[in-house]
Subunit: 338 residues, 2 copies
């Protein structure tokens, strides 16, 4: 029931996902009448879906603390509870991010060996796509957190982007080892010292994100949130400037048509609906946050991320990688660099 | 002698600036033979220029510590020394940023009442231009530093962008008062509590930079550096995607010509040469860093920034604003929020 186009985008998105992933089935939490009426248009989806009625909804303005107190019976709260109780493999919602993070953390708890969960997403780059985390779950992070984010982000890239041995970097203000915060420098030393199931390539600067220099960009939640929104804002500005520059120079109908095609190709690559699905990594359960403005195709992308994480056993992969990297108990990696 | 197109871009840039600012004169530091030969093409510039020979150059790879030990006699070191000794009003270089920052700080020292200098620049936005600082001079900043950056950034925007009462915001992960680092929240409280010669509008998120929501964006040097480079990288990516999308859809010569015009209009707005000149604010003297890749027009932009700061007595303005904001001695603003 969350997001700008709820619940239609969720139901139509599920109908698209059903065609792509024949093994899935759905629990739909929300207003029974509204969901039943939407499902009527998709009999095949209706056959694999079960509606669980609730009138309660977490609103976009609810604070995380309010959601924790009052949101357990909401559509979002019930979906997360279904994961907690093993009824569902993964919960997907387009609702309030802060509320979802707070409820998921409270109900699912962090995985053994993980200090803090992180919010990760897939971004378009010049070479395709890359993963970035943390995007705002933790405004302050120490070296241990960054190391764990690297392990979780690499497992996510393998699972969702299908990259067997992802290239992982720490976001920094320079590529030299001496630059940056203490936390970033220490995390870099730790990641170099242990044997990992991914390639740690050191530091990258902000322009490396769009350049697609690496598959996974690791940073604290403050910097990651600012970088993500700066990239979105810049892409929007440049696209608009382009469109208006073309409109003013294109007089003919032919020209206008061509401009439209070029804009469409660009927008398809940058469209958040094609890269939808932020994920809370590091919890004992899978939770995917769809963009609030996502349409049905966008919601289907988020469901695709959910499907891939679940089908590939992301949580087991993260647990195994933590074990291998010696970061599980927070001591082995300290020994390695002392 | 610094930058990719030295020393030709500097001399040709000075020739352009001479036409724009009839009152300026130049001290040119570097290889006498090379500079003399370049000046031969610009007799009017030669008439207002004096060459000071040196064979020493700070290289792009020199560490700041090396520049401090060995760079005093270099073209960059001598230019900063000319400001220190009152021979020049402002020093401009396209050379090594770290070296320039270290030498400028060492030779000119920070202004009374300023804890740390900051690196500021002008960025294109949807509404025109905005100022952002710090861009990497300080990877860690406390609330006092951020307050001082706000005062200095506002004075810079008044002087160089000509905005009488700039709108200033702190970069954060949300616009609510409860969000973000402690340092950012405390700086926000301090800026609200004092009477300023600019409008402090609170927090903005990363997408507010390109949207042109404010005239001055204040942040720590780590976040600012990442945000600046992320924006540059994203603008480059989107421009390239656009160009290739259009090329593939435009078959006719007419179409190609129109695409070229559109691209040119966009590039003019985003071209770093039109927004060139990062400035070290908070020192007892004015120092401008031109982009290393700047061409003659770009160097002329940096000289324009230098001219405006000097003509408008930026340093006196900052000193007066510090006095008024009660931040000069680091005590008044603490009383105001206690």
């Amino acid at each position: 029931m969350g997001g700008d186009h709820a619940p239609a985008a969720a139901v139509e998105g599920a109908a698209i996902a059903r065609e792509r992933y024949p093994n899935v089935s759905f629990l739909l939490f929300g207003n029974q009448a509204a969901l039943t009426s939407l499902l009527a248009a998709y009999p095949k989806l209706a056959a694999i879906s079960e509606i669980r009625h609730t009138d309660e909804v977490v609103s976009a303005d609810d604070k995380p603390s309010q959601a924790l107190r009052r949101g357990r019976g909401s559509s979002m709260g019930l979906a997360i509870a279904a994961v907690q109780e093993g009824e569902a493999d993964v919960a997907v919602s387009a609702g309030n991010t802060g509320a979802m993070m707070a409820m998921a953390k409270f109900m699912l708890k962090t995985m053994p060996g993980i200090d803090r969960p992180a919010l990760a997403t897939i971004l378009p780059s010049s070479r395709g796509e890359c993963v970035m985390l943390d995007l705002g779950a933790n405004v302050e992070c120490d070296a241990r957190n960054l190391v764990e984010f690297a392990v979780m982000g690499a497992a996510f890239a393998r699972t969702v982007l299908g990259i067997p041995r992802p290239r992982v970097a720490l976001l920094n203000v320079g590529v030299e080892e001496l630059k940056g915060h203490e936390e970033v420098k220490e995390a870099g030393q730790r990641l170099k010292a242990v044997d990992l199931s991914f390639d740690f390539v050191g530091f990258i600067e902000g322009d490396g994100i769009a350049a697609g220099s690496v598959d996974v960009v690791v940073t604290d939640g403050f910097t990651g949130n600012v970088a993500l929104k700066t990239a979105e804002g810049t892409a929007r500005m440049v696209t608009r400037l382009f469109a208006s520059a073309f409109r003013s120079s294109l007089r003919s109908k032919l020209g206008a048509l061509m401009a439209k095609r070029g804009l469409k190709a660009l927008k398809d690559h940058l469209d958040p609906n094609n890269h939808n699905g932020a994920v809370f990594l590091g919890l004992n359960g899978l939770v995917v946050k769809s963009h609030g403005g996502a349409n049905a195709l966008g919601f289907a992308s988020a469901l695709g991320v959910a499907h891939d994480m679940s089908a590939d056993n992301l949580l087991s992969r993260i647990a195994a990688d933590l074990e291998n990297s010696g970061d599980g108990d927070g001591t082995a990696e300290e020994a390695a660099v002392s």
